[in-house]
């Protein structure tokens, strides 16, 4: 029995290793200077790179963070520090439901909300959809981390005559800051790899976007489009993009794991 369970555990780990190995093998040779500095060549021609997609991903993540982090963190603060048990239960429930909404659905909704009125795809729409997806993620992780802060600190602060909001912001949140940042980073890694919501919002761009109202390229979008295309050179570049994206996501995930191991011990 034990052997069977062990075999299952190995079976689970295998895809990660297989995927990583394959991405590394296919992508490593194609990650060159051109990849980072050039935009795509004309359709069907060899050469070119993903500079615009790399920048595009950064732009989209930046916008998403502007939307998702303030709303998510402040909402998480409310869940942890205010509210009544019944009311908060419903908020949590709603957030968990939102976390289960398919990513393509988010794309369709923001399409109707922004792309149609604006008569076209835009970087703004892409940033907004990713930001909205971040909200429930960041809200839940923030709440959890704040709940871990011992009540004694709140009491001590209030007993000093410090007002409640200052207690929350300058004592509680400050104590939990590392955990909040971790949650934000993990949410960022999640949305950095999202493709479906961008399909009809950011849409993609073979060149540079000259403003947030234009469609914009993003690494996962390019990987998808290149992968589904018939051009071998685009396939090659898609692997390079996949390698860069995978390394980024793994780096963030492993990085936060390493940082949160660094727990301070309180001397008795």
């Amino acid at each position: 029995m034990e052997l069977l369970a062990f075999a299952c555990a190995i079976l689970v780990v295998m895809p990660l290793l297989l995927v990583f190995y394959h991405v590394l093998r296919e992508g490593l040779s194609s990650v060159n200077l051109a990849f980072f500095t050039q935009v795509p060549a004309a359709v069907g021609e060899k050469g070119g790179g993903m500079a615009n997609a790399l920048v595009g991903t950064v732009v989209l993540i930046g916008q998403a963070a502007l939307v998702g982090v303030p709303i998510g963190v402040l909402g998480g603060i409310y869940l942890s520090e205010y509210g009544g048990t019944k009311f908060n239960w419903w908020i949590r429930f709603a957030a968990d439901i939102l976390n289960g909404v398919p990513s393509i659905t988010w794309g369709v909704v923001v399409y109707g909300l922004m792309v149609v009125p604006m008569h076209g795809s835009s970087a703004l729409a892409g940033g907004v959809v990713l930001g909205l997806m971040m909200i429930p993620l960041v809200m839940r992780t923030t709440e959890e981390v704040l709940q871990l802060v011992p009540g004694g600190y709140r009491e001590a602060s209030l007993a000093l005559g410090i007002s409640k909001w200052r207690t929350i912001v300058q004592i509680v949140v400050r104590t939990a800051l590392k955990g909040i940042v971790t949650g934000v980073l993990l949410a960022t890694a999640r949305i950095a790899g999202e493709t479906a919501p961008l399909l009809f919002t950011a849409f993609g761009n073979l060149g540079w976007a000259h403003g947030l109202k234009e469609p914009i390229a993003a690494v996962p979008l390019v990987i998808y489009n290149y992968a589904m295309s018939p051009y071998p050179d685009w396939h090659r570049q898609a692997w390079a993009g996949a390698l860069v994206l995978l390394l980024l996501v793994l780096f963030i995930n492993i990085g936060v794991r390493f940082l949160t191991r660094d727990r301070f011990q309180q001397k008795i």
Binding site: E2, C8, V101, P102, M139, G193, A196, I223
Partner: protein, 331 residues
Amino acid sequence: MPTTEQTVAADRAAERPARLRAGASPLGDRAFEWLTLIMALSVFVLIAIIGYELARGSTLAIHKFHWHFLVSSDWDPGNDVYGALPFIEGTLVSSAIALVIAVPISIATAVYLTELAPLWLRQPLIMFIELLAAIPSVILGFWGMDVMVPWLHTHLFPALRGRLGFLPIFHGPDYGHGYSMLAAGIILAIMIIPIITSISREILRSVPGLQREAAFALGATRWEVTRIAVLGYAKRGLFGAVILGLGRALGETMAVTMVIGNAPQFLISLFAPGSTLASWIATQFTEAVSNLFYSALFELGLVLLGVTLLVNVLAQLLLKTFAGPSIKPQH
């Protein structure tokens, strides 16, 4: 007539630096509470927006096709006629395959991690599983296209056809050359194993030690203890974990799109290409030419939302009633 004490106290209060009296806290407190409340209410607003947008976009198609939309297999843009049945079936079947593969493996792994694995092995394994969950869907789909699909075509499908070809699901040609419903099911399984495993792990960990001790005291072997005391107690929670995995599988888009073949059909043979609600929306949205076409896609989105919402609500209720707020659903 004030006493010395009162005078002293009064002097002291007057001497107290003005800075200590500064800070209108009641205003600040109320403002901050309102600010955070409004941010928290955003979740309700978002749910309303999602429902409203999908409903609004679907009205055209709903009025045209009524509920026939759900049972018709006729997807014909040329004649502006649309039916959702193949995609509903594709969604359900691909997710079912994923569950059949993922559930035994996930629960066995969760049991291994909580009960049987040596301590030094647990953290690394857990980390690997969490990293698997972090792989972007499009990269997994790309690997699926490049590695898994050809392998299915050359190795697994012939083997299945050879041994189990008498079953209708393993019957028939794979004219998708590996791009198939089965491919979608396998890749979905890979994607939902981490979630089911990690939640199951937490559920199993929360089983009180007393249950195990009682079983040991009765002379049960290690496996029997696990099976009877732990799994039995955790049944409802584990079911919730499985349902949550199902919810994730139902909504998965990119990886499925890249390996399923994207044909607007549903055949019994798992070797045949097909489509799911999510993959069809993804591939067709940019092809839509008429308002009705768009509306039909919105309605597909509405159906997808309805199905995933139902499943997710069920999962949340199961998990919350089992273990309370201590279990955090992973995504």
